[in-house]
């Protein structure tokens, strides 16, 4: 009797290795870019403990937190997209498309513009982002429910409508803030330039905790992709699992948005490409999305720097939207021809 094998293990490891290699190469390149590039030799010297004090400051204090931020935010946004697509059984769901990133941005903007009594700024901003993000998700979801079921089109439309409305409020807040908030404009376009080790001390624990919870529930997520009834029949406590997953993705999305602004389309593009490579099993999709998301943002950060001129470094959100927008349209077009999900 020939034995069954777990499908796709070797492929998974090979792809993971390739993604990690790419991440490290572009992370290294990224360490050499601030406003202008340093040579690889200089970066290497600094990493080995040498280099001039100026170069050490640039590489370790300015560039390193930015690259680390790209890694964690990329991982977080990609996995949030993967979870939402599975939960809503919709290949086009992502924090950006469903407007929940905008919700987080509104919370964060309020946190930045107004002083919240008794809570330190570093905590208040992501906390408000979380509250508004979760509220927006609930609003979009309930708007899209028609007679007890959610349709793809209504979900996307409610997300886009709510997202546009909330973005307008954020723009309004940005406008009345005037010069008071230097950098809020950059933030609202999605930019890693304000990354610091102080910010990372909040971002990393939240994202790592979120990723851990989501990884733990990836089997349940598989069952829920078949439908709630299937999942219940397989022993999944659907209501509780869904709530835990929504809280985890909301936390991950909102902490990212609070510190780097709205970086769109990562959660759409990455899980989709990963699924094309390894199939729909979330036990592969989730871990690979973590690393592929990290690689993607590190690469986009590199591109943002490489294409920046005298005006300054381009916000990374522009790059991800330039790549993600056409990809979204491609998905929409393809959906008309096939119902299946690759």
């Amino acid at each position: 009797m020939n034995k069954l094998r777990r499908s796709g293990n070797i492929r998974f490891v090979a792809i993971l290795a390739a993604v990690l290699a790419v991440t490290f190469i572009f992370a290294f390149l990224g360490l050499g870019w601030a406003r202008w590039p340093l040579s690889a030799q200089v970066v290497w010297d600094v990493l080995l403990g040498g280099g001039s004090p100026v170069n050490r400051t640039i590489v370790l204090d300015i560039n390193l937190p930015r690259v680390i931020m790209a890694v964690f935010v990329g991982a977080g946004l990609a996995i949030s997209g993967a979870v939402m697509q599975a939960l809503f059984r919709n290949p086009m769901a992502s924090p950006y498309i469903l407007g929940v990133s905008s919700g987080a941005a509104l919370g964060a903007a309020i946190g930045m513009l107004f002083t919240i009594p008794f809570i330190p700024y570093l905590i208040a901003t992501p906390l408000l982002a979380f509250v508004f993000c979760f509220g927006t998700m609930m609003l979009v979801y309930s708007l899209s429910r028609v007679g007890g079921s959610t349709h793809v089109e209504t979900l996307l439309l409610s997300g886009i409508a709510v997202g546009a409305f909330i973005s307008a409020i954020v723009s309004f807040l940005t406008f009345i803030a005037g010069d008071r908030m230097e950098g809020i404009v950059f933030w609202s376009m999605g930019s890693l330039s304000k990354a610091s080790f102080m910010n990372l001390s909040i971002v990393i624990p939240v994202i790592v905790a979120g990723l851990f919870i989501i990884l733990m529930l990836s089997k349940e997520l598989n069952a829920m992709m078949l439908g709630d009834a299937h999942a219940m029949d397989l022993g999944v406590d659907v209501k509780r699992t869904r709530l835990v997953l929504l809280i985890a993705t909301t936390a991950v999305t909102s902490v990212s948005v609070a510190f780097v602004g709205v970086i769109g389309f990562v959660g759409l593009v990455i899980p989709h490409i990963v699924r094309m490579l390894v199939g729909p099993d979330n036990r592969s999709v989730i871990p690979l999305s973590i690393f592929a998301g990290a690689a993607y943002l590190v690469i986009c950060d590199y591109i943002a720097h490489a294409f920046s001129g005298s005006v300054g470094v381009m916000p990374i959100g522009i790059i991800t939207a330039l790549i993600g927008g056409p990809y979204f349209i491609y998905l929409l077009r393809r959906r008309r021809h096939q119902v299946g999900w690759t």
């Binding site: 034995k3 069954l4 777990r6 089997k219 078949l226 009834a229 022993g235 299946g340 999900w341």
Partner: protein, 264 residues
Amino acid sequence: MDMIIDVRDLSFDYNRSPVLDGVDLRIRKGEVLGILGPNGCGKTTLLKNLNKNLQPHGGCVMLDGEDLKDLSKKDIARDIAVVPQSNEIRFAFTVQDIVTMGRMPFMGAFSGETSQDLGIVRDAMERTGILQFKDRHINTMSGGERQRVIIARALAQTPSVLLLDEPTLHLDISTQFDVLDLVRRLSDDEGLTVVIVSHDLSMAVRYCDRVMMLKDHRVFALGTPEEVLTPENMREVFNVDAVLEKDARNGRDTVRIFGSCTGR
């Protein structure tokens, strides 16, 4: 005969209107039980209460002497497997992926399937005749093939009870027989307890040891097909003019339906 599921005075409401009202039912170990009734009589609701997909508003359901209320969904899924009414799956999972999900109730959060799990999965695919399809994508398969995959998944749960909700609804006629022959064989060979919800009277006679008729949210009749499927009961519950008669070719009982009773 031992009983495995004991439904006591079960009530369930949807938006305050009763769907089930004081249902009592003892399901015996190893039997094939048919739950019959017209559309909307609460058959599916009853089935969903049997594995805690819905929770009773009154009364209780006991599994092997334990109240389902006190068992987790995961515990229940180790004993009770379900073949749901709709099995349309839009995602490109392979057949093996889907059948392997049947082992979920036995796995921990970070553990994958063991070689023992894979053995059970293989066995389930073999018994349902889908082993040669194991690498095909579920979203490219026909309704009948998908039904087999879902039955294989249910078998991979190594359940003692199998619940089927309208298992033949979207199938070709010949596939309907294939699927039910398979289920009957599993019960005969392995002592699996099977509960089939259906409105197909001929199917019930052919495959069920006992049948139960639901009407007006309550148990209307319960017993062997001969006892329950009388012309009076069939008229009362299904509004059809029908008789149970012996098939001249093989001497088996069969239902002959002459037509609706409306207007007669």
